[in-house]
């Protein structure tokens, strides 16, 4: 089984135990995707973690886009902006960095 900084991940790179997550793991996962995490990345990652804490699910991209726009300004509430941060998909890649399971309804 693969691991990142000692935390077990599945074949797609998602954490097996959500409680293992640390900021260092997120940085390391991003490095593996050749991404250096900026403040904008952290805004989304922290939002995803908060959403999961509140609702026990990872939001669908449509829901994420709407919520990010509401919280961080209209110019950020679109998939172009989110994909510029997470080229492999804000849902899939963002959730992976945030230590969440793959979003429900992610196709």
């Amino acid at each position: 089984m693969a691991d990142i900084l000692g935390a077990e991940v599945d074949e797609e790179g998602f954490l097996v135990n959500l409680g293992d997550w640390t900021e260092e793991i997120a940085v390391e996962m991003a490095k593996g995707d050749e991404i250096e995490l900026s403040e904008e990345h952290w805004d989304v990652i922290n939002f995803l973690r908060g959403y999961f804490e509140e609702y026990q699910i990872a939001p669908a991209v449509r829901v994420l886009t709407k919520a990010i726009g509401k919280q961080f300004g209209k110019e950020k509430g679109n998939s172009k902006y989110l994909y510029s941060l997470f080229p492999y998909g804000p849902g899939k890649q963002g959730c992976r960095f945030a230590g969440l399971p793959k979003p429900t309804g992610c196709i």
Partner: protein, 134 residues
């Protein structure tokens, strides 16, 4: 893609069987296809949206919180059988205050849950294109 009216019938309590959580998963997945989705809670299904659930004693995930996300997914028609509530000694006040933000009304928060009689519910059901029972 033509929009169809989908209704998900929830007839069993949250825990003990997988029906409730599986139904919720399917509802969230189906929401991605932007169909007209409604949910009905009948029989023991009404327990799924009772306020103040605690799963500490059974070691399972408390997924009742997820119902609060449905509004974000544009799922805002949750019908609850009045008869089923009454048979179990419950009232509308025992249910979670689930809401959605109405895009056409300046994002005002509005209740998603509606208690209806079985007669009304069967009328709503006959109006659907697809009914899925869990």
């Amino acid at each position: 893609m033509a929009t169809k009216k989908f209704m998900y019938l929830n007839r069993k309590a949250s825990y003990g069987t997988v029906y409730a959580i599986e139904s919720l998963e399917v509802v969230l997945i189906a929401a991605a296809f932007e169909q007209d989705v409604s949910l009905a809670f009948i029989d023991d299904g009404v327990y799924q949206i009772v306020e103040g659930q605690n799963t500490d004693g059974i070691g399972m995930k408390n997924f009742s919180k997820t119902f609060h996300a449905l509004g974000d997914y544009d799922i805002n028609k949750l019908y609850v059988s009045a008869e089923s509530l009454e048979e179990r000694g419950l009232t509308a006040d025992d249910l979670m205050p689930l809401v959605y933000e109405d895009e056409d009304d300046d994002w005002e928060e509005k209740p998603s849950v509606k208690v209806v009689s079985n007669a009304e519910l069967s009328k709503i059901m006959s109006d659907q294109d697809v009914c899925l029972s869990f």
